[in-house]
């Protein structure tokens, strides 16, 4: 399988990613199931070290090899990645993966403790990426690895501020310049549809519920004409009748009668009617998830600048 080229037809043995739903994916090798670590999104920012095809780079430690893939993609076809891993099992797994994914000629992996033994590379690379517990121990070796007469970039990826502190000190001592440190996150905003009814719609349905209740009350206690109604009691009764039938025909039509009160002149629904689709007024909105990644690591950047004599 060609890692850098897309192909149109899936073949036996290909590494694929299967989407089980719109956002749930499972990686598979066609035929045999196998897990492929892809922390895709979080690599984006480490690419702020200006990688382009043809450049040479050091990465340590290799870990699962996922960032190695990302780097290799950017350096292909004629660049090179030297990656170092001191954990033997991880080294073996990563090495096998580079083979399987067809990037073995772009990536050289070494089983080596760089903190003790250095990189063993001089005057060759344009960029160095450190993901180590004690990055300050390799800064001197990194300095020597840079192509001495061109500008180069170093990035150190550490979760703790104390690591950053020590690394920056080492970088300053080794003559790196333009030392900057960033915390970078990609915050998800989830899309959803939410009802956004107006308060007038809410008022209206409560109003109609109140009117229904008034009808029921009027039926329960039918006679006793009120003082202001005394002048035209017949007219009021007529009005009331009209109201009852009218409401059954229009506003309450089609709403299932659940808790209505039986009466001589028909059923009246006392439940609060649900808002209509139109009243619900569905809108697309985004919402931040309850939790998101709060910290990936601090990214420390430094520039290797060639020394010029006056």
């Amino acid at each position: 399988m060609a890692f850098f080229r897309f192909k149109s037809i899936i073949e036996d043995g290909d590494q694929i990613v299967v989407y089980l739903s719109r956002d749930y994916m499972v990686p598979l090798v066609v035929d045999a199931t196998k897990v492929y670590h892809n922390r895709y999104g979080s690599f984006a920012h480490k690419n702020m070290i200006d990688l382009t095809p043809g450049k040479k780079m050091i990465e340590t430690g290799t870990g699962s090899g996922s960032f190695s893939h990302s780097i290799a993609r950017s350096l292909a076809p004629d660049g090179h990645l030297y990656t170092f891993e001191y954990h033997e099992q991880r080294y073996n797994i990563a090495k096998q993966e580079f083979q399987d994914h067809g990037i073995a000629d772009l990536v050289t992996i070494q089983h080596r403790d760089v903190c003790k033994d250095g990189f063993g590379i001089t005057n060759e690379v344009h960029a160095v990426f450190l993901d180590l517990p004690a990055p300050w121990e390799v800064v001197a070796s990194a300095r020597a690895a840079f192509q001495q007469n061109t500008v180069g970039r170093l990035c150190s990826f550490s979760p703790c501020i104390e690591q950053v502190d020590r690394t920056c000190k080492a970088l300053t001592e080794e003559g790196f310049s333009n030392i900057t440190m960033f915390e970078v996150l990609s915050r998800p905003h989830e899309l959803r549809q939410t009802p956004l009814p107006s308060i007038q719609a809410a008022i209206a349905r409560h109003q109609s519920q109140r009117e229904s209740k008034a009808i029921v009350t009027a039926r329960r206690y039918p006679t006793e004409p009120k003082e202001e109604d005394q002048s035209s009691s017949t007219e009021t009764t007529h009005k009331k009748r009209k109201l009852e039938t009218g409401e059954e025909d229009s506003t309450l039509a089609g709403v299932p009668d659940k808790s209505s009160t039986p009466s001589e002149s028909g059923r009246v629904n006392l439940t609060l009617r649900p808002l209509t689709t139109e009243e619900l007024n569905y809108q697309y909105v985004t919402k931040t998830p309850t939790e998101c990644r709060g910290h990936t690591s601090y990214l420390t950047f430094a520039t290797w600048v060639p020394q010029l004599d006056n």
């Binding site: 989407y19 956002d23 994916m25 895709y40 070290i49 382009t52 192509q147 003559g175 960033f182 959803r192």
Partner: protein, 458 residues
Amino acid sequence: MATNTVPQEGHLVRAHQFVLIQLTSGNYKTVQLKPGSTVELGKFGAFQTDDIIGKPFGVTYEVYEKKRIRPYRAADLSAVEETEATNRDILDDPNGQKLSHQEIEQLKQSSIEGEVNHEQLVEKVVENNKHFEKKTEFSKAKYIQRKKKKFFKLFTVVEPTLYNVCDYFFQKNPTKTRDIRVDTLSQMVTYANISAYSRTLVVDDTHGLLLCAALTRSTVHSQVLALMEGDSPSFEILKLMNFPPETLDRLHYLSWNRMSKDEAAFFDERDTSKMDDKELRGHERRRKTYEKLLASQSLLAAGDFDALLIASQYDPVSILKELVPYVGGSRPIVVYSPSKEPLIMAAAYMKTSPDFINPQITESWMREYQVLPGRTHPLMVMSAGGGFLLTAIRVYDSPEAVPIFSTPRLAPCRPSRTGRLPPPRKIAEKSTSSPSAKVPSESENSTSAMTMETEESK
């Protein structure tokens, strides 16, 4: 270490190329290096282009006499030790500086003329600050640093790489690049999976920044097609990146109005034998333009692009409808916008369309820190936003596909704990032009959609 290896030519400053000149104030300036000319840096002095041509990038120079420069290495602020001094005795006093404004201006002028060294200038300003001795060592250092930034005639020759160019515009003229910040651009090229062999489709209303990204991340084996308004490309940022002609040859332009081949017939093959030189040149020019157009049209028609990058002032949904048919299966689509709202509508469209999977809206967040021994903290002022991205993967709809086995579909209104989006039917009816756009029947529907679903399913 070996010092006699010849550096790659691309990493030395070349004559006629564009470079970024970074000043101590943090400001950048773009300069094209014409040999034998002088570059004016205002209060930071001036230098001659010949003095930096052929030298490596990244070097900081000091202007020490009129137009004369030498490499400079800054003493570091972190070397300062903490002391007992406090700011308790320092009162707000606008007359803390004994030098008058005129005197300082005079010093500055003689510094520009090269008569006074900038270190002497800063020393003088420091000496004349009444409160300087009362400051803590750190705040003394900070004060000196601030004055150096103001008066030191230093500049750094910065290579216009994608990162630097993006940063330059973000600082200097962010509207030109639609406020794209470096971390967002990094994510765009990563999500878009641009690599050596990519064929990339780009809608660039950022004066060429996206095109620069697509070109730098790929090689001779790749092609970039830019959709544009009108017939003449206006991507001025391209020139800053100093692309060699063979790189620019990989970039093809196509006007939105000429996507279809029927629109192409503006060139007629005529009898050239009777033309005079001027007519012939014009004719040949038109022929060349026409041939380029045909090439761009064929490139688009071939389809199967490896990525679609969009950063446009136009509605992303309208652009997606035009271009998605040309994007290959499993390929990423990345839409950038400085505001979230256009992306919301586009994401909603993607969720209802069978052409996309995994649409996600993300916001870029970045905070810079001051890192000093014992004094590390986030910068007091930070960039408030880096814009938003909508990413998705293009898929092919296969209506005839039948599952080998399937469980009966649950009622569409089953509430979901994840609160995932329901099929937005209303939008689908209204805005989807293609009749094939089916409503996805996911079993996860949000609780909020329940009422609506119930109403509609009656």
